[in-house]
């Protein structure tokens, strides 16, 4: 989706605002949003790509106006409703609907500690033939999917060089829509800054973008 989240190359967003001695969470609710998303993610009803896409679906003006954790919160509530964890009525009244059974939490303390220590890798141990190899010249496809994609607009149609094959990973474009993981190789592709931005960029600079096989074609 060509959404406002796809910001690479936009201008006039203002200066970078640096906060000295910034706390991890500015207010306790931010930490609770952070933790609640993982706590509910442990039910396995969505995946990392779907949860990223939920944030991308925050309307563009709101996306820019809201703080990071506010966006995350809004998107999280939408996911809870969509996946039938809560109803809008329950959210309004803040009490479980009468007669609803009580579940046992998916994320226990033990599982939380395991998630922190081991993570949730999206690399996949399946055989998938790489379509490209290091040193090869490639073009990022000019595609404009209306769903989730991790191919940023600024790279589309541009020619770069494969620098490194990272191995096989789940494919976000299908995974976000629960259409399967479609595991495939991911490469770090080097683009000359001038290929991306023209003569205003320094001739020696470059941008490396991680690209799934399906984002690339031979050049």
């Amino acid at each position: 989706m060509n959404g406002v989240h796809d910001m690479g190359g936009m201008q006039d967003m203002g200066p970078v605002e640096y906060e000295k001695n910034e706390p991890v969470f500015h207010l306790p609710w931010e930490g609770r949003v952070f933790a609640l998303r993982r706590g509910m993610g442990a039910w396995g009803k969505w995946n990392i790509d779907a949860s990223r896409h939920a944030v991308e679906l925050v309307p563009p003006a709101d996306y820019l106006r809201m703080s990071y954790y506010e966006r995350q919160f809004i998107a999280f509530v939408e996911m809870l409703v969509q996946h039938n964890f809560v109803t809008r009525e329950e959210l309004e009244r803040n009490v479980p609907a009468g007669g609803s059974p009580k579940a046992a939490p998916a994320l226990t303390v033990e599982k939380a500690n395991s998630l922190i220590a081991r993570g949730a890798p999206t690399s996949r141990k399946v055989i998938a033939a790489p379509r490209f190899k290091a040193g090869q010249s490639v073009r990022a496809r000019n595609i404009n999917p209306v769903g989730h994609t991790r191919l940023p607009r600024y790279a589309r149609g541009k020619v770069g060089t494969v620098w490194l094959d990272h191995g096989v990973y789940a494919f976000p474009d299908t995974n976000a829509q629960f259409l399967g993981e479609k595991p495939q190789h991911v490469y770090s592709v080097r683009f000359a800054a001038r290929e991306l931005w023209g003569d205003q960029a320094a001739p020696q600079d470059s941008v490396y973008v991680d690209m799934w096989d399906d984002y690339l074609e031979p050049a």
Partner: protein, 235 residues
């Protein structure tokens, strides 16, 4: 803490306004945005209400949520990454392992896990400066740097890091000469990057712990260099 954050925003705006001079309308637009970005007071209540609802339905365990918050608030942060960098400076064989297979080398120091399952370490040299961004969201190597600061997740950094990295670096106080290559790493997939800074001059006699104390989060994101220790100062 709300007050502190608003003070910071107000302070940086007045500084930006003074610097902008003739661009007063522009300044006003940004000020408008930021006032809205100040934390809405009802979020505390709304998040608390949602947590209570989910706990009552048996969907989440408060102790597990507490464990997550505690881990990233108190245990996992840039001191981890600083130890990795210091080890690489102190031990050439470790540095080779780190650059060849970052996951295994970082695990040697006991780090790894969520949002750092697949790591690549990129090395700064006198001729190459690396910096990290996630233009699409907020991807960041949690096990070695903790959770990202607000500026890293913000529109100004995400938008300009790829099109004007040298301008962004100047805002951070880092002026790079024209013979240095800037390599920007956009974290668009599940690979997380860490910048291995150059070891500053005058640190030959420091031990690993003293070296680690010099390494900053910003240097590991690539928006700063590691400064040499102040003469006579604490290393």
């Amino acid at each position: 803490m709300t007050t502190n954050r608003r003070d910071f925003i107000a302070g940086s705006l007045s500084a930006a306004g003074a610097a902008m001079g003739a661009n007063a309308p522009h300044e006003h637009e940004h000020q408008h945005d930021h006032e809205h970005q100040a934390v809405p007071s009802d979020l505390t209540l709304r998040v608390k209400a949602l947590e209570s609802l989910l706990v009552e339905k048996g969907l989440v365990d408060r102790a597990a949520l507490d464990a997550l918050v505690d881990a990233y608030e108190h245990k996992i942060g840039p001191r981890n990454g600083a130890r990795v960098v210091a080890r690489a400076w102190a031990d050439a064989a470790y540095k080779q392992r780190l650059l060849a297979n970052a996951d295994a080398a970082i695990a040697e120091l006991g780090y790894g896990g969520m949002q750092g399952e697949h790591m690549v370490v990129v090395e700064n040299t006198p001729k190459v400066h690396n910096m990290i961004v996630c233009t699409l969201c907020s991807c960041y190597p949690w096990p070695v740097l903790g959770l990202p600061p607000v500026w890293y997740k913000s529109a100004p950094y995400r938008s300009r890091a790829v099109i004007d990295p040298r301008g962004v670096l100047r805002e951070f106080g880092l002026q790079l000469s024209d013979d240095v290559e800037v390599s920007v790493w956009d974290s668009t997939a599940e690979i997380r990057y860490l910048v291995l800074s150059e070891r500053p001059a005058g640190t030959e006699n420091l031990n690993e712990e003293q070296l680690a104390a010099l390494v900053t989060r910003d240097a590991m994101v690539g928006v700063a260099k590691v400064a040499a220790p102040q003469p006579g100062g604490k290393p």
